[in-house]
Subunit: 210 residues, 3 copies
């Protein structure tokens, strides 16, 4: 659909923001917050990861403060959830799938943006991870939940792997499109398999599952 | 009293910091923290919103790290509360009124500072909101409370409205003094009416109050 | 061992990161998190304080995103704790001592870096304190604990004192080595005495201990 890479990048970015904003708004609904609480969690979850990344790599103000579409998307997601949340809660399996897609888009975009700002592949991997999981951490801290990256169930490991494939692929001279595609697939497929098979990360030596 | 606008701006800024620092220190007293915990919550509540805004709009280091008065004010507020907190707790109604004034000052100042840094009216509205509620969010996260913006009782809605009036008024060419005054009044009067009449924001479709 | 001051500075910085990363990883083990949760808390605790400082003083991207050793150290600390945590939990007294050393290193380094970026002695004291306690605050927020600076037991007071001695000594023309050494000793010795004698900070007027 998108006629050039830059349009494609903006579209995927906005799609990722939308998906994460929906996840934040659904948490707000489950916590019985009012419609403004829904908006706050939608916007912070959708934009939080990118904000933290941009501030850390010295790219402030973030893109989301310079392009009004980046703000309208999470607000629209919050309004949709405020009205249609009963149907969305029933569609939780579909939301998990879309969330895995959003995670993949964000870790790839975060890792690439960090390399563009001159960071090496290891810090770029960390920045990809922060972009992918940062919004969910802010959402969970505000809502009084255990942050998603600290729960079991392999959320951050696929994110770190996808970011590493993207960043080190770029470092080794692989074309950006190939590095991003393979990185995104590693993250998304691993995450979906973990959800489907209920995979868990290993515990520290000598400890059983929580 | 103030002889020029810039003096007036600094005075209002310091007054807002003082009020929010008092609110942070009072939370610390209620949590039975020691005098240093009182100082930590006073400083983070008084300065937190402005710090987050300045980092996001690319204005680091924040003014509070370049002008020693901005640090002494919350420290003094923390000391006052450590000594006189019994009288202040009794004066909670008065503190709510002063807090509404502090919120109005902060959302207006935050929205104007963002427009000065080249942000459009919609992001500037978000930055005004962040300036007004950021310190209270940090205070509540540190103290283990539900953040003020997620509780019922119309705190963030008046803040967002006041910031929007200021930012869009400025965008439409209204004089800064008028835009700031009307924006601050919208925020402060709405907040006080919500406190007085115990107004609540609407709930998402089909959900009753928490 | 180190042949010049800059090598000594990097070594002490990495040592401080290692110690704080170990403390973060041990919290993760106690919370029965999986090995990736251990890594997340190790990295955020080891690097968090410096990240917050660098973002606030306008020094983004932080050193830890420009030098891969700063990332490998907390990852290695997390792996060590995942394997050897039973022995480390038994060595909690030793870890408290090493943590006091890490705190001293971080507050001195944070205060000096802030003065190098042109901040006055009072803001530099705050930045030294933020560097020393920031990682622990992030660790405790993520783990759902009361932040270390708000608990009793004199953690932040020695940190603030050590940072103040360093920053004001530097301001008064004392040589950097002397200011840093005295500041670090004030922080470390006070912290160790507080641990040994179970000192508590005073409570606000009229309140008993929690």
């Amino acid at each position: 659909m998108a006629s050039d890479p830059s349009t494609a990048l903006v579209v995927t970015d906005l799609l990722g923001i939308f998906v994460f904003a929906v996840s934040g708004a659904l948490v707000a609904v489950r916590k019985s917050l009012d419609v403004f609480g829904v908006q706050v969690l939608a916007v912070t979850t959708g934009l939080g990861g990118g904000f933290i990344r941009d501030v850390l790599i010295g790219a402030a103000p973030p893109a989301a403060l310079q392009d009004w579409r980046y703000l309208l998307v999470p607000v629209a997601a919050g309004l949709l959830v405020s009205v249609y949340h009963p149907a969305m809660v029933r569609a939780e399996r579909m939301i998990n799938i879309v969330d895995a897609a959003g995670l993949s888009l964000f870790v790839v975009a975060g890792a690439l943006k960090a390399t563009e700002h001159g960071l090496g592949p290891l810090p770029a991997t960390l920045m990809g991870l922060v972009t992918g999981v940062g919004g969910g951490i802010v959402r969970d801290l505000l809502a009084g939940l255990v942050p998603v990256v600290l729960r079991g169930g392999l959320y951050a490991t696929p994110a770190a792997a996808g970011a590493a494939v993207t960043a080190f692929g770029h470092e080794l001279g692989v074309s950006t499109v190939v590095a991003a595609t393979v990185g995104g697939l590693v993250c998304g497929v691993w995450r979906l398999l973990a959800l489907w098979r209920n995979w868990q990360a290993p515990m520290p030596h000598g400890l059983g599952p929580a």
